[in-house]
């Protein structure tokens, strides 16, 4: 059954898929830079009344914790990437590569850009993991 994005269930499934991914395990093996938070901007017309953060505690190729947090909490992560719903949907459908999205200003990054650039392969694997989740998009 398709899982709504974003939701607690979706985030749990995402953590599971990340930890099942051999690709991410390899590409993220040396990642020790801390938590990555993904923030989806509010879009009341599809039921997202306030900004939603997804907190991913990534460490050496493993996702140690994944949870829904407030946008305020998400901003405390060393890396926080913010985009509107349509952009995250494009990312998950592999229509927008996240690093390019940041270059074009479609996704906003708070955090050390060189670190993100160094781990583009890992970011690609994280996107790949989202495609393994049967996702229900709230605007469809």
């Amino acid at each position: 059954m398709a899982i709504a994005f974003p939701s607690v269930e979706w985030v749990e499934e995402y953590k599971k898929q990340i930890n099942l991914s051999e690709g991410y395990k390899k590409a993220g093996a040396t990642w020790t830079a801390g938590v990555v938070a993904l923030v989806t901007s509010a879009k009341p017309e599809i039921g997202i009344n306030e900004d939603v953060g997804i907190w991913l505690d990534l460490h050496q190729g493993v996702c140690r914790e994944a949870k829904i947090v407030t946008a305020e909490e998400a901003q405390k992560a060393p890396f926080c990437i913010t985009g509107d719903y349509a952009r995250w949907k494009q990312v998950m459908k592999k229509e927008l590569e996240p690093v390019k999205g940041m270059m074009q200003g479609k996704l906003k990054l708070k955090g050390d850009l060189p670190t993100i650039v160094r781990y583009v392969k890992a970011s690609q694997e994280l996107v790949e993991c989202t495609t393994r989740i049967e996702t229900k998009f709230l605007d469809e």
Partner: protein, 620 residues
């Protein structure tokens, strides 16, 4: 009419006669400036059939109206002429500080005609202009000659210097021209053209300011654009890691050529050679061209080891790939040393690295041996061997004499199938972006005016999604490994990219701005009634003009091609199994662009663009 000084210095090096000239206002409106106006001057006044290294081939240094205006990215100027490397129209642009200083001295450009019998250099201090003897400078490398001239002519204020090194003096066909040690007109061998005129250097000091037509609008627009450019993520990326920031992303998308374009992926190489490594290990400080909020330039230093180097200008992405992935070298310190030698000698790092990669493959295949290389081991990855070759190429010694002619000619001379792995288009070595990952870039290489070029169109930014210009008509997300819709994209990219070399503006800064911003910069500076539509029309007209020049110099439909190596799929990486559909791309492009079966712009297309004179020359 702001922006222009309306004065072009004309120097006849054969007679030492100097004069001022200008182009009609109409040509400024139609071709803007920079390499656009230079091409028009060439067509109007010079011998198209002249040998590139003969006195009849002019060297044209040209600013654009916004050069020196202090708008972001306006340090650039163009240097043009018939290319000694390709034999067709050649041009390059350069950042740094020379262009603005030339304008501050009162000139839109300089046309060098003829050739001096002895080495000379030109000194401009506002109205005071002098050709001076350069016998004592001949043989000095770019760093030494720059230091010497700054000292000699900089008692109160240091001048800006444009120079050639030994490679230009020795007529290496891919010799570059250097501005103050760190910025280069690299492509198409303009350094050899300058060397053929025995012109060692230009020294300029100016005290004027660029006058703009609408000062209030200019001030408002400038403030807005500086902030916009500075804050763009691509600018932040380049500022923090240099242009080499693109190495890691490029490896992921199949953009980075490896082992003379025969391998599709090697993440270890990109991890060692990419922007983060360069920044963490060797960066001493950032550096910026005049008026640039992006500040992508790197100053680097290697403290220890065989490639120890004093602080100096560091390698760009193109150099990190050309002396890194392309030759299978993972030692970034070695790349920095190779870059320093190329800077000192005055060599285009793209063509030089590509030619060395070609030599390494020839060595692997047994087409050349240690006997031919005077004992240099050219095994893949041997950066020491590559650096030894740089010396030989610059001095035209031994195998270096053949390689100094460029890959196309070297392949001809080596024979035995060497053309199969010579990666060039129209004689210009391909830059470090793989068309198998991005098919539009393949078409852009085929149709670019000066040969395999990644700059005279904005394909790199547009197709890879680094930037987007919806107002021009581009799609938002192009699929790299598809030839669908790419002919239209490339034509638009050219029409928009060509004016960047006319304005002249840095492409990287252009990535951070909108197309309307560029048109506005022209309007408030010049006072022309100028919109985005005019910018694109100028782009199309100038592309047709330069294409016509290329046609008259011998380029035809057969030259719009990709080398066999690029049409051979790689087995791994993001672009595995993918090659551009050349037949489809060219068929559609020829239709959209209005080219005939010989590759010439059709008569009616030229007339529509207001190029009746060129139509008559091309079609009678």
């Amino acid at each position: 009419m702001g922006g222009y000084t309306n004065k072009i210095l004309e120097v006849d090096l054969s007679t030492r006669k100097m004069d001022n000239t200008d182009v009609p206002e109409d040509d400024k409106k139609r071709f803007i400036g920079g390499s656009g106006v230079a091409a028009k001057i060439f067509l109007d006044r010079f011998n198209i059939k002249a040998d590139p290294l003969s006195p009849d081939n002019p060297l044209i240094v040209m600013n654009g109206p916004i050069t020196g205006s202090t708008f972001p990215g306006t340090s650039r100027f163009a240097v043009c002429g018939k290319s000694p490397l390709t034999g067709i129209w050649g041009e390059g642009t350069c950042g740094g500080n020379f262009g603005p200083e030339l304008k501050f001295a009162g000139f839109d450009g300089i046309i060098f005609k003829g050739a001096s019998p002895n080495p000379v250099y030109l000194v401009i201090e506002d109205e005071k202009i002098e050709l001076r003897d350069a016998k004592d400078l001949w043989g000095l490398d770019n760093y030494a000659v720059t230091d010497l001239l700054k000292e000699r002519h900089g008692k109160e204020r240091k001048p800006k210097v444009l120079s050639i090194g030994p490679a230009g003096e020795n007529l290496v066909r891919f010799a570059a021209i250097c501005n103050d040690k760190g910025d280069f007109i690299g492509r198409t061998g303009m350094g050899a053209l300058m060397g053929s005129k025995k012109l060692k250097a230009l020294v300029v000091k100016g005290t004027r300011k660029v006058e703009v037509s609408y000062p209030e609008e200019y001030a408002t627009l400038r403030k807005l654009l500086v902030t916009k450019s500075r804050d763009a993520v691509v600018a932040q990326s380049f500022r923090s890691m240099g242009t080499d920031a693109g190495m890691d992303l490029g490896m992921m998308t199949g953009d980075v050529p490896i082992k003379n374009w025969s391998i599709g992926e090697d993440f270890q190489l990109s991890a060692n050679l990419g922007g983060p490594s360069l920044t963490e290990k060797y960066l001493t400080r950032n550096h910026a061209c005049s008026f640039c909020p992006v500040a992508c330039k790197r100053m680097v230093k290697v403290d220890v080891g065989p490639f120890k180097a004093e602080e100096g200008p560091g390698p760009e992405y193109e150099t990190c790939a050309a002396f890194g992935t392309l030759i299978m070298n993972d030692d970034l310190a070695g790349v920095i040393k190779a870059n320093e030698w190329c800077n000192r000698y005055g060599l285009d790092t793209i063509s030089c690295g590509a030619t060395i990669a070609f030599a390494m493959e020839a060595y692997e295949k047994g087409l050349i041996t240690k006997k031919d290389t005077d004992g240099i081991d050219l095994t893949w990855g041997n950066i020491e061997g590559a650096i030894e070759l740089i010396h030989k190429i610059s001095k035209r010694e031994g195998i270096g004499a053949i390689l100094s002619e460029g890959t196309r000619e070297a392949a001809k001379r080596l024979g035995k199938g060497a053309e199969e792995f010579a990666v060039e288009v129209k004689g210009l070595e391909a830059p470090m972006h793989d068309p198998r990952g991005f098919h539009g870039m393949g078409l852009a290489y085929m149709t670019s005016i000066r040969g395999a070029c990644h700059l005279m169109h904005l394909c790199l930014g547009v197709e890879q999604g680094i930037t987007a210009y919806p107002e021009v008509g581009f799609q938002e997300n192009y699929v790299g490994q598809s030839s669908e819709g790419k002919a239209e994209m490339v034509k638009l990219c050219e029409d928009f990219g060509i004016p960047c070399n006319s304005l002249v503006i840095c492409e990287f800064v252009a990535w951070t701005l909108s197309a309307n911003d560029l048109a506005e910069m022209v309007r408030v500076t010049t006072g022309f009634d100028f919109s985005l539509k005019d910018l694109l029309s100028c782009g199309e007209r100038t592309w047709l003009l330069k294409r016509g020049l290329g046609n008259m110099m011998g380029a035809s439909r057969e030259d719009d091609r990709l080398p066999k190596r690029i049409l051979t799929p790689v087995g791994e990486g993001a672009a595995a199994g993918s090659v551009p559909d050349v037949e489809k791309l060219l068929r559609e492009y020829y239709e959209i662009r209005g080219l005939d079966s010989k590759g010439k712009p059709r008569k009616e297309v030229l007339i529509k663009a207001g190029l009746e004179y060129l139509a008559k020359k091309l079609h009678g």
